[in-house]
Amino acid sequence: MSDGLNQSGESPIGDSVLDTTQLKKGLVRQDDTEWRIEPKGAMRVPVVLFASEALVEDLDDKVLEQAVHVAGLPGIVGASYAMPDAHWGYGFPIGGVAAFDAEQGGVVSGGGVGFDISCGVRTLHTGLDRAAVDAVQDELADALYYRIPVGVGSTGAIRLDRRGMDAMLSGGAAWAVNQGYGRPEDLARIEEQGCVAGADPGQVSDLAKKRQQNEMGTLGSGNHYLEVQLVTDVYDAATAAAFDLDVGAVMVSIHCGSRGLGHQIGTEYLKRMAVAAGRYGIQLPDRELACAPIDSDLGRAYLGAMRAGINCALANRQILTHLAREVFAEFFETDLTLLYDVSHNTCKLEEHTVDGRRRRLHVHRKGATRAFGPGHPDLPTDLRAVGQPVLIGGTMGTASYILVGTEQGMQRAFASACHGAGRAMSRHAATRRWHGRAVQNELAERGIAVRSPSPRGLAEEAPGAYKDVSEVVLVAERAGLARRVARLEPLVCVKG
C-alpha cells in the first residue's frame, strides 16, 4: 500500500512553493548532457535532466518543479527523468519519464500519461522519389487534405455501435485490419503488435465512448499532422539499410492520438484520482499530480481504460494509414509499407534491469518515446538485431528525425528518448509574431505545400514557435538515449 507522497504535507524541498530559479541553479552537471538534482526533502529519487547548456538555459522553469514533485511519488524507481525536449506539462512535465514498482506501493498517474493517450507517430515508406511527388505536389496535398478528416468539428466516416466500439477498444490496430483498414503485416511494425493487452472497455465511460463516436479516422488539430517527407540525410548507413531508408526516398508520417475518447478518459480519471488520493493516503503537493496506487481498484480501472485508449489511438492511426494509401493509389502505382509506429503518451508494464535485478515496472512516458535497444524480445524479428525505430516529429517547416534505440539507452532512462521539438513559445506569442497565410506562403516558396482549415492554427504552429529539433535529437544522441539514423524534411503537410 502506498505510504503517501509526503505524510507531513510538506512539499519535496520543504516549502509550499518551489523556487524554480533556485531549482535551475541547483542542477549539478554530471557530464556533457546529464544534469541532476539530488534527493532532498520528500524526493525519493534524484531528478535527471538530459540537455545541452543551451537547452538548460532555455528550459521552462516549471519543468524542474514538476520533475521534483514526480520524484516524491510513492514507489518511483531510479530517477524522475526529463528528456531534452522537456517543457511545462500538467502534473508531470511533457518529456517526463518515470517508472513505478507496484510491489513498492508504486502509483499510476493520469497526468503522467496525458489527455491524448497514446498520441504518437507512424512513418511509412512510399517507394517514391522526390521527382514523382514534385510533379503532382499541389494536387497530392489537396487530395490528402480533402480525404483526411482534419481540424475542429471534423468527423470520420466510421460509426461504431456499442459492440463495435468495445471490439475496437479491445483490438486496436488489429481490429482495424480485421475491418479492412490495412494489412496483417502492418501489425508487426506497431508497438505491442498493434494491440496492447489488458485493455478494459468496461472501465471506459459511456461519455467517453460517445465522444469518440464520430471521431474514428480523424487527425485532430494543434500539433497533429500528416506529412509527405523527403529523406535528406543518413547518419548511420547500416541501420538505415535495415530500416530501408535512402537519401532521396519519400516517406509519409502521421502524428495523432486517441482523439475524444482519450481526452475524456484523461479528464475523468484525473478527477477521480485527485478526489481519491487522500483515501489512498497520498497527500499531493498539487492536485495536478493526481495518481492512485497501481495495486488499487482505481489504479487497475485507470490502467484498463488507458490501455483501451492506447488501442483507440492505434486503430485511429491504422484507419488514417488506409486513407493515405487510397489517396496515393490514385496518383501512383505504389504501395505504402509501414516502417514503424510509436506512441509517446503512455504507461506500459515493462521489464527493466535495475541495480542488476530484473523488475517489472510501470513506465510512464509523457511526451517521450520508447526506445528499445538491439535484441529486445518485443521488437519485430526483422528489426531485433538493430533496435527500435524512434520517430521524432518536427514542425511543418523543419526536419523530422528517425533514430534507433541503443543498448546504452536501455540503461539510461528505462529505454526512453525525446518525442519532438517541444514548444519554445506560447500559442499567443506565436500569433503575435506570425500570420498564418504568410507562414503558408513562405513554406510554399521553400517547396512545402501546407494545407489547413485555420490560418491562426498555422500561425500558432509556426516552425519558429518550436525548439530546434536538430539540437534536441543531437543531445538525445550524445546522451546515449538513441542514435540518429536519418533526417527528413516535409514536402506536403496536412495540418489540423
Binding site: 500538467y90 502534473g91 475542429v152 481526452h263 517541444g422 519554445a424 500559442r427
Partner: protein, 177 residues
C-alpha cells in the same frame, strides 16, 4: 458589456491603432450576444508554453465562470463569430468550487466535441455545490469560424477560484490543447 482585458488585447494586438480597436471590438464579442444576457466581467488568457491558461473575472463566482467560458471559446476561434442560435443546458455538481470550475469547463469541452458546436453566450447560476447553466452557440462552420485548435480538457494546473482584495472573483486554470 463584455470586455477583453488589456492583457488579451496586448497579447493579440499588433498593427495600427484602428486594427487594435477593431480587434478589441471583435474580442469583446458584444455583437454576438443579441438577446442573450451578456456576462459582466473580463476574461483573459495567460501564458503556458505548451497549452493555454483561461481566466475569468466577475462580481460573483458564477460571473467569473461565465467569463472563463468565453476565454475557452477564444482559444478555438473569435467568439464574436459564433452566433447564439441554439441553447444547451449544462449541470454540474461538486462541493469544491475549484473542482466545480474544472467540471464546468470540461462539460463545455464535452458538449463542443459531441455536438460539434461552439458557444459564445453563457448564463451560469451556482447554488451551493450545484451549477446550472444555459449556454448559446451554433454548429461549427470551419470556413466561417476558422477554428484554430480543439481543446482536449481542462487541467488542475494553475487552478484557482478565489475572491480578490477588491471583492471580485477570479477563476483560472490551464487547458490542454
Amino acid at each position: 458589456m463584455l470586455e477583453a482585458t488589456a492583457a488579451v488585447v496586448a497579447e493579440l494586438g499588433s498593427g495600427t491603432r484602428q486594427d487594435r480597436v477593431a480587434r478589441r471590438n471583435r474580442l469583446s464579442g458584444t455583437s454576438g450576444f443579441d438577446g442573450v444576457r451578456p456576462a459582466a466581467g473580463r476574461w483573459a488568457h495567460f501564458e503556458h508554453r505548451a497549452d493555454v491558461g483561461v481566466e475569468g473575472t466577475g462580481a460573483t463566482p458564477a460571473a467569473a465562470f461565465e467569463q472563463a467560458a468565453l476565454a475557452l471559446t477564444a482559444i478555438i476561434c473569435d467568439p464574436a463569430t459564433v452566433r447564439p442560435e441554439a441553447a444547451v443546458d449544462i449541470c454540474c455538481e461538486e462541493a469544491d468550487l475549484e473542482l466545480l470550475f474544472v467540471d464546468w469547463l470540461n462539460a463545455l469541452v464535452y458538449r463542443m466535441a459531441t455536438e460539434r458546436m461552439l458557444f459564445s453566450g453563457f448564463q451560469v447560476a451556482i447554488d451551493g455545490p450545484r451549477l446550472r447553466a444555459r449556454v448559446w452557440g451554433e454548429a461549427v462552420e470551419p470556413v466561417r469560424h476558422r477554428p484554430a485548435v480543439e481543446v482536449k480538457g481542462a487541467t488542475y494546473t494553475a487552478l484557482a477560484v478565489r475572491q480578490q482584495s477588491d471583492g471580485s472573483w477570479i477563476a483560472r486554470c490551464v487547458v490542454d490543447v
